[in-house]
C-alpha cells in the first residue's frame, strides 16, 4: 500500500485446518498488486484451492485476514469484496437447469447487475467466447472445451476488477489452452487484475508478470520470473520451482 491504494488482494497470516489435522494454509501472506497478472504456483495439495476459496467466501479461514481492494472478505464488507471478484473454480460446475445464455445472465444478476445489463453482457460474452451458437443449449450438452470457456465467460460476466482462475487449463488440450491464454491476456490488457493458479510452469512463464510459490500452505518465494531465475541462478522457472517445492 505504498501509494495509498490497497492491493487487489491482501492476505495476512491466513490459516486453515481441516478435520483430520491437515493444515491446508499455515499462516499465508500474499499481496497481489492491482492491475498485475499474478501466478500462484505449487504442487497438488499445496493449498492453492483452499486459499482461493477463502478469498471468494467458500472456505472460512481459521485465522488471519483477507481483503479485496481494501474490503475484508469476511464480515460486514464481504458483499463489496465478493462483488469485485470473478471466480472460475477448478472443477467445472454449471447450472444444468437453465440454458447457457440464461446461466450467464443469472450469474450477472446474482452479482448485482440489472436484468437488461446482464442480458446484454451475456450476449457479448457468448460472442467473445465463440458460444453464440450454443445460447439455448444446456451446459451438460456442451463439449468439455466449451464448458471451460463458459466457466470463464461466467467469471467475467459482471465485469469484476479481480479475476481468479483456479487451474483454468488443467486437463485442457493444447489448442484450447492457447485460446484461453489469449482471452486472459486480452482481459489483463484491459486493466483487470488476474490471479491464476497452475502447476504448469510454462503457463506461468508465458503469462505471469509475478509469481508466488506455495508449499504446505505457505508462500516460499515471490517475484517476477526473471528476478527469481536470477536469484536462484536458474535458467528456467522450472529449476526454481524444483529447488523450492520439489523434493
Amino acid at each position: 500500500m505504498i501509494d495509498g491504494t490497497p492491493p487487489a488482494l491482501l492476505c495476512e497470516g491466513v490459516r486453515k485446518s481441516f478435520a483430520g489435522g491437515v493444515d491446508a494454509l499455515a499462516g499465508l501472506d500474499l499481496s497481489v498488486p492491482e492491475g498485475s497478472f499474478f501466478g500462484l504456483l505449487g504442487p497438488n495439495g499445496a493449498g492453492k484451492t483452499t486459499l482461493i476459496r477463502s478469498v471468494v467466501g467458500l472456505t472460512r479461514p481459521g485465522a488471519g485476514s483477507i481483503s479485496v481492494f481494501g474490503a475484508a472478505a469476511w464480515g460486514d464488507s464481504a458483499g463489496a469484496a465478493r462483488q469485485s471478484i470473478g471466480y472460475a473454480p477448478q472443477d467445472v460446475a454449471l447450472d444444468r437447469f437453465v440454458p447457457v445464455r440464461e446461466l450467464l445472465s443469472l450469474h450477472g444478476r446474482y452479482f448485482g447487475m440489472s436484468r437488461r445489463d446482464a442480458a446484454g453482457r451475456a450476449d457479448e460474452m457468448l460472442r467473445a467466447f465463440d458460444l453464440s451458437g450454443k445460447a439455448t443449449a444446456y451446459a451438460h450438452q456442451l463439449s468439455g472445451g466449451m464448458r471451460r470457456r463458459l466457466l470463464l465467460a461466467r467469471a467475467l460476466l459482471h465485469r469484476p476488477r479481480l479475476v481468479i482462475l483456479d487451474e483454468p487449463t488443467a486437463g485442457v488440450d493444447l489448442e484450447l489452452r492457447h485460446d484461453l491464454w489469449d482471452y486472459i491476456r486480452a482481459l489483463h490488457a484491459d486493466g483487470t487484475t488476474i490471479l491464476l493458479t497452475t502447476h504448469y510452469l510454462e503457463e506461468a512463464e508465458a503469462l505471469c508478470e509475478r509469481v508466488a510459490f506455495i508449499r504446505s500452505g505457505r508462500i516460499v518465494a515471490e517475484g517476477a520470473p526473471p528476478d527469481l531465475r536470477a536469484q536462484f541462478g536458474a535458467t528456467r522457472l522450472e529449476d526454481v520451482y524444483l529447488q523450492l517445492v520439489g523434493r
Binding site: F18, R53, V56, G57, L58, T59, R60, A78, G79, A80, R82, Q83, S84, I85, Y87, P89, D91, A93, L94, D95, R96, F97, V98, L106, H107, R109, Y110, F111, G112, M113, S114, R115, R154
Partner: protein, 261 residues
C-alpha cells in the same frame, strides 16, 4: 462501492435466485406440479366418491368433502419439502450452488431465494388441487383467511425444512428417508383421512403430538368451518412451526452448512 449499491446488488441477486427457483418449478411442471395434483384428485375419486358412500358422515360432513382440506394440505407439505430439498441438494451435488454462494448475497437472501421455489410450487399445487377437487365434490370455504394462513404456514414450514435437509444431506437417500419415513407418516397420522374424535387412546394423544395434525385441522376449519380443537391453537401452532423452521433454515445458512467448508 457504497452501501446503497451493495444493497441494490443484493436485492437484484435475491430476485434472480428466486426467479431461477420458480422457473425451475414451472419448466419441469410435469414433474413438479402435475403428479401431486393428479394423485390428490385420485384420492378424492377413489376414497371420496367411490368408497365415500359406504363411509358414514364424519362430524356431519360427507366423507368426500371431509378429506379435501387434508389432501390439499398434504400436497402443499410434501411438495414444499421436496422442492427445496431436491433443488438445494442438486445444486450442492453438482457444485453450482457455489455461484450464488460466492455472490454478495447474505444468508438471509439465499434463504429467501431458495424458499421462493418451494412456496410458489406448493401453493400452486394447493390452488390446483382445490380446483380439481371442485370437479368431483362441492365444498364451502367458511373462513378464507384461516385456510390461507394454514396453507401459507404449512408451505413456509416445509419449504424451510426442505432447505435444512437439502443442506445437511450427503446423498439422495437421506431426503427420501425424511420424506417417506418422517413426513409421509406424520401426514397420514395427522388426520387427513379421519377425525381424531373417532380415535381411542393412545392414538388420540399421539395425534396431538403430530405437528401436521394442527395444520390439517386449521385447513379443515378454514374450509368446513368445523374443528376438533380450538382454531386459535391449530393456526397458532401452524404459524409457530413456520417461524421455527425458518429460523432453523436461517441458522443453517449462516453457519454455511453444506456450502462453506
Amino acid at each position: 462501492m457504497t452501501t446503497a449499491e451493495i444493497r441494490r446488488a443484493r436485492r437484484r441477486g435475491t430476485a434472480a435466485l428466486a426467479e431461477r427457483e420458480v422457473l425451475r418449478v414451472l419448466r419441469l411442471w410435469n414433474q413438479t406440479i402435475a403428479p401431486s395434483v393428479v394423485s390428490a384428485a385420485l384420492f378424492i375419486v377413489v376414497f371420496g366418491v367411490a368408497l365415500g358412500a359406504s363411509i358414514r358422515l364424519i362430524d356431519g360432513v360427507p366423507y368426500e368433502r371431509f378429506i379435501v382440506p387434508g389432501l390439499v394440505l398434504m400436497g402443499v407439505a410434501t411438495s414444499a419439502f421436496g422442492n427445496t430439498a431436491t433443488s438445494i441438494f442438486q445444486a450442492r451435488n453438482d457444485g453450482f450452488i457455489e455461484d450464488p454462494a460466492s455472490s454478495p448475497m447474505t444468508a438471509t437472501q439465499l434463504l429467501l431465494g431458495y424458499l421462493s421455489g418451494g412456496v410458489v410450487r406448493s401453493l400452486l399445487i394447493g390452488a390446483l388441487t382445490l380446483a380439481a377437487a371442485r370437479v368431483f365434490v362441492s365444498y364451502p370455504v367458511e373462513h378464507p383467511a384461516v385456510l390461507a394462513a394454514a396453507l401459507a404456514g404449512t408451505s413456509v414450514a416445509f419449504s424451510a425444512l426442505g432447505i435444512v435437509v437439502g443442506l445437511y444431506s450427503t446423498g439422495w437417500d437421506q431426503q427420501n428417508v425424511v420424506g417417506n419415513l418422517v413426513i409421509q407418516p406424520l401426514v397420514f397420522l395427522g388426520g387427513v383421512f379421519y377425525s381424531i374424535d373417532a380415535l381411542g387412546q393412545p392414538w388420540r394423544a399421539l395425534t396431538h403430538a403430530d405437528p401436521i395434525f394442527y395444520m390439517v385441522v386449521a385447513a379443515r376449519h378454514g374450509m368446513l368451518g368445523a374443528s376438533e380443537i380450538d382454531p386459535r391453537l391449530s393456526v397458532g401452532v401452524t404459524l409457530g412451526l413456520a417461524v421455527a423452521m425458518l429460523g432453523w433454515a436461517w441458522v443453517t445458512f449462516v453457519r454455511g452448512v453444506g456450502i462453506r467448508t
